[in-house]
């Protein structure tokens, strides 16, 4: 059996290497959900079906390299030359691409950057040198400063091909760990590396594993929490879609270290592609003997089940997740007992976030010292953020912990034309960080110190067109809706906070409401049962702290960002209106009077403040007041 597993791995690796670097021209289309949404599927099919393509040109699927704003991405490798990433590829480009690569060249106008060699942390790939007129990948602003440890394989290998994973060193960490057969030293390694939970709470992973290992009971379970529910966050989705095997390998190592025999991946049902690729990966790994009984001939046996969630945000909370897995409604329960003591089916259970698991092989392969070279002393390593909102460059960003927010927003994100006001970090239960505090280093403690959280890594950038009271209302509406309804502060508190915020955005608030809101928010944080409630008021409390003037303006009936419908109105400037009628024709409420070449007028009673008139008027005659 041992021979078979090991032999399997060697064969897979050879086959994968052939496919990645030495099997002719390789055109790989970035086909994560994001790429597909931008048309990658059609491009892939067109490339594959191109009548001009010969057998030397291989068209394959890959995951996502992370630069969402530039999708679809296609990377091209001509043997001996660097890997070149093409961006904003459209269907029309396909014949040209085929023509170029058949000639051994690259369509330079589409080239975003080049990669000469890549350290997959376990297996270094040298693509080739040359093509200096295309910038190196880490020379372009979006990638500059990024350190791809977690995303090491994303967008570079075919996620549905286990051989490509093997080619970049996959499953060799597991093989090594099992050969050494020292679970304690694995835990020791993780502890020394100082890895902290990437789900957002930042609990030291090694210590969690140790507690689990020491906890009596059998069988033991490990769970991967892939119930990524934050609006605007999609790191985990992309990680799984682009590199599912790294997750499985990380979990297998974790299971070995903690003494678990069964793993469960609790993944959002809303991520069908991730689910599909996970299921395939689990099957392939099982077929190869990297999962299942007596892995690599050792005494270690381990299986993984993929379970789809049912769409509750709160099931990202450990105890609620377990409850959901057990077939009960997803409601958290008090801790202790911790899952390590009494978890799934009452047995010792260890839960880690997707991204935490991705760090495991990275630590095992390179060693804890190398891992600690990135990040800060207290927060070593990197964190993947989904950078979205009012910035030029949106996408998945993997940053060493401890970098400043301004690097993220202005450097990598490329800033915005308008004045950036704040960043919402850590999803709906994170906090609004004002631009004045952008020098804050992004690590667990520093973010907590200013009332925000790292969370799972959502970063939403907001500019002067965003109303901070409205933002607070939006996030509280989300958490109130997603509250499981168990504990009073979360169930009733967030609901009432939402009511107060609705009043404020409607200009019906008073100063005493602000005091009550702050008091309420503080008590919710202080008394809610689980993480959802304990962090739910963060958007309210941070906006109250940093954007009080906006709240006060709302009390006076004004929305400075001109967002809150009840506090704004649209008017037509008589002087500029030429009677073009486009506004009247598009008004869903028929609220605009006036005929052709006659000055128009908005009947305020009918207006629902949708803003369509402002958008459609080419003459600047509609004004938001």
């Amino acid at each position: 059996m041992k021979v078979l597993n090991t032999e399997n791995l060697r064969k897979n690796r050879e086959k994968g290497l052939q496919s990645i670097i030495s099997g002719g021209v390789r055109v790989a289309v970035g086909m994560g959900t994001c790429g597909i949404g931008n048309g990658a599927e059609e491009i892939y099919r067109a490339l594959k079906g191109s009548p001009h393509r010969t057998g030397d040109v291989h068209v394959v699927k890959t995951g996502c390299f992370g630069f969402c704003a530039e999708e679809p991405l296609v990377n091209v490798h001509i043997p001996g030359k660097p890997l070149v990433i093409l961006h904003r590829v459209i269907l029309k480009d396909v014949p040209d691409i085929i023509k170029w690569v058949m000639g051994g060249k690259i369509p330079l106008d589409k080239a975003l950057c080049r990669i000469e060699e890549w350290d997959h942390l376990t297996g270094k790939i040298i693509y080739g040198r040359g093509m200096e007129d295309v910038p190196l990948w880490d020379e372009i602003p979006f990638f500059k400063g990024q350190d791809k440890i977690v995303l090491r394989n994303c967008g570079l290998i075919d996620p549905e091909d286990i051989t490509e994973y093997a080619a970049v060193g996959g499953y060799s960490c597991l093989q090594k760990v099992l050969a050494e057969n020292k679970p304690e030293s694995v835990i020791e390694e993780i502890k020394k590396a100082g890895l902290r939970g990437r789900g957002g709470a930042g609990f030291p992973t090694g210590i969690k594993w140790e507690l689990m290992r020491q906890s009596p009971g059998s069988p033991k379970y490990i769970i991967c929490n892939a119930d990524e529910g934050d609006p605007g966050a999609y790191m985990n989705r992309n990680e799984i879609e682009s590199d599912p095997h790294s997750l499985l390998e990380g979990m297998a190592i974790g299971a070995f270290a903690t003494g678990a025999s069964e793993g469960i991946i609790y993944v959002r049902a809303e991520y069908p592609l991730a689910v599909k690729r996970l299921r395939k990966a689990v099957k392939d790994a099982g077929d190869c003997g990297f999962l299942g009984k007596s892995i690599f001939g050792s005494e270690f046996s381990f299986i993984i089940n993929v379970v789809e969630g049912a769409g509750a945000f709160v099931c990202g909370e450990e105890t609620a997740l377990i409850s959901s897995l057990e077939g009960k409604s997803g409601r958290p329960s008090p801790r202790p007992p911790f899952p390590a003591q009494k978890g799934y089916k009452g047995k010792p259970t260890n839960i880690n976030n997707v991204e935490t698991w991705y760090n495991i092989t990275a630590i095992i392969s390179g060693g804890w010292k190398r891992f600690r070279k990135t990040g800060t002393g207290k927060s070593p390593g990197t964190k993947v953020f989904s950078l979205v909102g009012k910035v030029a460059n949106t996408g998945l960003v993997e940053l060493p912990l401890g970098m400043s927010l301004s690097t993220l927003v202005y450097g990598i994100g490329g800033g915005s034309d308008k004045k950036i006001k704040a960043v919402q970090s850590g999803g709906p239960s994170g906090g609004c960080i004002p631009a004045e505090l952008f020098e804050t280093p992004v690590d667990y403690e520093s973010l907590a110190a200013i009332g925000a959280i790292m969370g799972s890594g959502g970063m939403v950038v907001m500019d002067e067109d965003n109303c901070m009271v409205d933002v607070a209302k939006y996030f509280v509406e989300f958490t109130a809706r997603e509250s499981c309804g168990k504990c009073v502060p979360c169930r009733e508190g967030l609901f009432r906070a939402m009511e107060i915020l609705k009043n404020l955005t409607a200009g019906k608030g008073s100063e005493s409401d602000l005091a009550l809101l702050e008091d309420l928010g503080t008590v919710i944080k202080d008394t809610a049962l689980c993480g959802l409630g304990q962090t739910g008021p963060n958007p309210v409390l941070t906006t109250l702290k940093y954007f009080m003037e906006e709240y006060l303006a709302h009390i006076k009936g004004m929305c400075p960002a001109k967002v809150c419908p009840e506090l704004i109105r649209y008017e037509i400037l008589e002087k500029k209106c030429i009677g073009y009628t486009v506004c009247a024709r598009n008004c869903p409420q028929n609220a605009i009077t006036g005929g052709k070449k006659k000055a128009h007028n908005i009947i305020q009673e009918k207006c629902v403040k949708c803003g369509i008139c402002l958008e459609v008027c080419k003459f600047g005659a509609v004004k938001k007041i």
């Binding site: 409604s329 509250s483 499981c484 309804g485 502060p489 009511e499 049962l529």
Partner: protein, 919 residues
């Protein structure tokens, strides 16, 4: 295991507390008030209301004291501004969604939310939504049942009800649906409670801290603050649940709650305990003595009725001798009542023909266990259930007959997973919980038990050392059981041999096994044999004489144990002192200053027959209704009609009272003081929850009056005097007095004032037999006396159901119970129904060789094929018209559990059946 103590500070003061104890418990123990709406110790640790929060040095957030355990050096603060503000805000949040409709709420005065609002001085929540402030009853799918009303408008989603249903009743009927602010308590898919497994124990109602859940029958009968509470003991089955019963300003009983006696019900009640008390308020309670004159009753004064009775009894005694009079005590009456009635029989009348209805339920237990162990009572305690790892339930539908014990067993099963084996011809409630279910034919218990013992002995798994040291008769038992090979037993019992073997393996592997049985074992012409077999099994597996190991005959009525203990049996005086023993007779003769007959009396099951033979001429009944409960009622009626004189003490005009010459109106159990002895020998004090109806008297008092009028003076001022007399003459009750009981119950044997009572019998396997050894009896299987044939092709088995009790005289008068199950039915297997072309609800005539009744067919997979089940509570279709009075030769118990019947479909006689239903 001794608890380790840790030292902590609360609000700056040092305390020592057991490690692992929850902060809330430590604080409350220390007299520090901690508000909580969702927490119920041991039941609900929902941790949701967030009112119990405290500040603990070093903790990031406030901590819930209900789920946080104390640890060494913990610094706890319960009254900092941070804590108080958090509590206030959370309370306001709860109040914001709760309508302030206290003025029309039945829970006013007992509502914990109201109390907290008061103590925090919150008159209006800052979060309130003015539009929602009217308290309107919201309709739910719960509205169709007669027991429980749920008004979601008042619900604060604390989860106590959900946890009570799950952790106390172990029924899991309700849970939370939806989420966030829109969450609600719900049944699965909003089914009505009747469609779920709900047993209407109303633990959910008891747990509700506000008025969202309420007992339906009490709505509008008075706010909680206007009710008066009395702690007493439930008057239904033998579990002896402690309850707090509430009466309104008019003196009527309106509601009951379970009391937290950890040794017995631990706060639980069943549907009858919870709702069944209102019969005491019934308008048709008897209030005046009645004398039959020219075939009709007329009202009479107490003096007249007593004198008339005394005269008639004296005449009959003089004319025919004392033996011509039979007396019936009652397991519904107190120990004191029963002591007096048997004293009356023995000392005033001079007969030992005094009995009680235990004859009809557990006389075979008393005889069988008495023979095997030396005493006829349950060997262990209810609280011992939690110490067992195997529970064998044979011939007991405990989920319906002893629902609270069933809940305790289920709870134990959930927590510690003991193996549960249920053997019953019907798929009874506990079969669902059971790890192994065996469906054997009624009356084949000996064959089944012998086969199990054979397998154990064949495999050499019997406890030889225990048997050698503590038992006798093993060799002949062994020879007998070895004849019971699996194949033939499989045929006899209708059970797959593999299942019998599995049962044997589980039983042999038990560290501590408790065996529960009731009428399925006892009510057979082989009742004593059945009981002996159970005792055999317990002894050969060494399961007796310690906590969690023993034999538990569950007693069916509140004081059936006590009625027997106090000598309402023909062959024994109080404390099972034998009438046959001249020394004992001498002792009582001296104490009672009367001559005591050495003639063994006759049991109640022979009264009718003896009357027809002319041997019994008069019967005096205290609180029983044999005209519903005796087997072969048509025959019984003839016997009772043949009497020269029949007197009865009763609370209602009953089927038996209708035949009487004198009827005395008696007080009900909820109106009495005195004592009850429950199924595990626990003697408990009753407190009157209301006064008897004007004109009714206590049973002991009536008997004393008749006795004195007969010339044997009995005068007691209060029941405690009787209890003291019992103690002086009854060794096992020697240390039991009212003043001790008012401090807490006592389990007999409790021989003297120093004794703390006995939790389990036969410690170190020393039995109460002359040589201290248990007796193993070789018992051969004998089939029931009447088996199905071509003419009567079905086996009828009778029994009790959850919602009614005994002859139905009480429960049929409880509106909610009678509404829920208003009429009798015959439960029939779907395959049999199909053969007879019956569908559910069809009217059928069920006939035996002795009579026939008309009732509805209920098609259910519960009974084994070929068996029908009929409850015996309904006078309109009295099951006992059909039953066979074949008696067990030793215990004289009739064979209620097996007789042959036929079933015919008949046309429904619309309207007629209904009009007969009422009382």
């Amino acid at each position: 295991m001794k608890a380790k103590f840790v030292s902590i500070t609360i609000n700056g003061r040092q305390y020592s507390a057991p490690e692992g104890e929850k902060i809330i418990a430590v604080c409350r123990e220390a007299g520090i008030d901690i508000p909580a709406l969702c927490y119920l110790e041991g039941i609900s640790e929902e941790a949701s209301c967030s009112l119990c929060v405290v500040e603990v040095t070093g903790a990031k957030t406030l901590l819930r004291s209900c789920v946080t355990a104390v640890s060494e050096g913990m610094e706890i603060f319960t009254d900092t501004p941070r804590v108080l503000n958090a509590r206030r805000i959370n309370l306001e949040l709860i109040l914001a969604g709760h309508p302030p409709g206290c003025m029309t709420c039945d829970s006013d005065g007992g509502c914990q939310l109201q109390d907290l609002a008061y103590s925090f001085g919150i008159s209006a929540s800052r979060f309130s939504d003015p539009g929602k402030m009217l308290c309107v009853k919201q309709t739910t799918s719960w509205d169709t049942n007669p027991f429980i009303q749920f008004n979601p408008a008042k619900c604060i989603l604390c989860g106590r009800c959900v946890n009570a249903c799950s952790n106390r009743a172990v029924n899991d009927v309700i849970g939370f649906a939806m989420r966030g602010h829109g969450g609600k308590v719900s049944t699965p898919f909003d089914m009505s409670l009747e469609q779920t497994d709900c047993q209407f124990c109303a633990e959910c109602v008891q747990a509700c801290p506000v008025g969202a859940l309420i007992e339906k029958p009490r709505i509008g009968k008075g706010k909680l603050k206007d009710l008066t509470a009395v702690d007493t003991v439930c008057a239904y089955c033998g579990v002896g649940c402690n309850l707090r019963i509430f009466r309104d300003k008019n003196g009527n009983l309106v509601m009951a709650k379970g009391n937290e006696n950890k040794k017995i019900n631990d706060g639980r009640l069943c549907v009858k305990g919870r709702f069944g008390h209102t019969y005491a308020n019934s308008g048709d309670r008897l209030k005046t003595p009645l004398i039959r004159e020219n075939g009709k009753f007329r009202e009479a004064s107490w003096k007249e009725a007593v004198d008339h009775t005394a005269l008639k009894l004296r005449e009959i005694k003089e004319k025919y001798g004392s033996k011509a009079i039979g007396v019936l005590g009652s397991s519904r009456c107190t120990n004191e009542d029963n002591y007096i009635v048997q004293k009356f029989a023995r000392a005033a009348i001079g007969t030992n023909s005094v009995d009680n209805c235990a004859r009809l339920c557990h006389s075979s237990t008393v005889a069988g266990l008495g023979k095997a162990f030396g005493a006829g009572a349950a060997t262990n305690s209810i609280q011992d259930i939690c110490d067992s790892d195997v529970i064998l339930i044979i011939g007991s539908n405990m989920a319906e007959t002893h629902p609270v014990i069933a809940q305790i067993v289920k709870k134990h099963h959930r927590e510690k997973s003991p193996k549960i084996i249920v053997c019953d011809p019907r798929f009874v409630g506990m079969a669902k919980t059971a790890d192994l279910y065996i469906q054997h034919y009624p009356g084949t218990d000996v064959a089944l038990l012998n086969a199990i013992m054979k397998i154990i002995i064949d495999k050499g798994k019997e406890k030889r050392e225990f048997i050698d040291k503590h038992c006798e008769g093993f060799e002949s038992l062994r020879e007998t059981v070895l004849k019971y090979d699996l194949n033939s037993v499989s045929k006899t019992t209708g059970v797959d041999g593999a299942k019998i073997e599995e049962a044997a393996d589980i039983i042999a592997g038990a560290k501590n096994m408790m065996i529960f049985f009731t009428m399925g074992i006892t009510q057979h012409s082989t009742g004593v044999d059945n009981v002996l077999s159970v005792a055999n099994l317990a002894m050969i597996t060494g399961n007796i004489g310690r906590r969690g190991a023993g034999v538990m005959p569950l007693r069916g009525q509140a004081n059936v144990q006590g009625a027997c203990d106090l000598g309402a049996l023909p062959n024994v005086f109080p404390g099972y002192q034998k009438v046959a023993d001249p020394e004992v007779r001498e002792k009582f003769a001296k104490a009672w200053n009367a001559e005591i007959s050495a003639d063994p009396g006759i049991p109640v099951s022979e009264f009718a027959e003896e009357s027809l033979k002319g041997n019994i001429k008069a019967v005096y009944i205290m609180g029983e209704n044999p005209m519903m409960t005796e087997a072969d009622l048509n025959h019984t009626r003839k016997g009772f009609e043949n009497l020269e004189f029949l007197a009865i003490q009763t609370i209602f005009m009953s089927e038996t009272a209708e035949l009487a010459d004198v009827v005395f109106p008696a007080a009900s159990a909820y109106e009495k003081d005195g004592t009850f002895t429950n199924t595990d020998r626990t003697v408990q004090l009753l407190n009157p929850a209301k006064s008897p109806p004007q004109g009714a008297k206590y049973d002991w008092e009536i008997v004393c009056r008749v006795s004195s009028a007969m010339g044997y003076g009995m005068e007691y001022k209060k029941t405690s005097e009787i209890t003291d007399e019992i103690a002086s003459l009854t060794p096992s009750y020697g240390g039991i007095t009212h003043s001790r009981l008012s401090e807490g119950s006592l389990q007999w044997p409790c021989p003297d004032a120093e004794s703390k009572g006995t939790i389990f019998l036969y410690k170190d396997a020393v039995f109460k037999r002359p040589d201290g050894r248990g007796l193993l009896s070789a018992v051969e299987f004998m089939p029931p006396k009447e088996l199905p044939d071509k003419k009567y092709p079905f086996i009828l088995t009778t029994g009790r159901i959850l919602y009614h009790f005994h002859s139905g005289n009480e429960t049929r008068r409880v509106k909610a119970l009678d509404k829920f199950v208003p009429e009798n039915y015959a439960e029939i297997h779907p395959d049999d129904a199909a053969k007879l072309k019956l569908t559910a609800g069809d009217m059928v005539r069920v006939s035996s060789r002795r009579g026939s009744i008309k009732l509805r067919a209920r098609v259910s997979p519960q009974p084994k094929q070929g068996i029908i089940f009929i409850p015996f509570h309904f006078r309109e279709a009295a099951a006992n018209v059909l039953t066979n009075a074949a008696l067990d030769p030793v215990s004289k118990i009739p064979e209620y559990k097996v007789c042959a019947v036929k079933i015919e479909k008949i046309k429904a006689e619309s309207g007629k059946d209904k009009s007969e239903t009422g009382h």
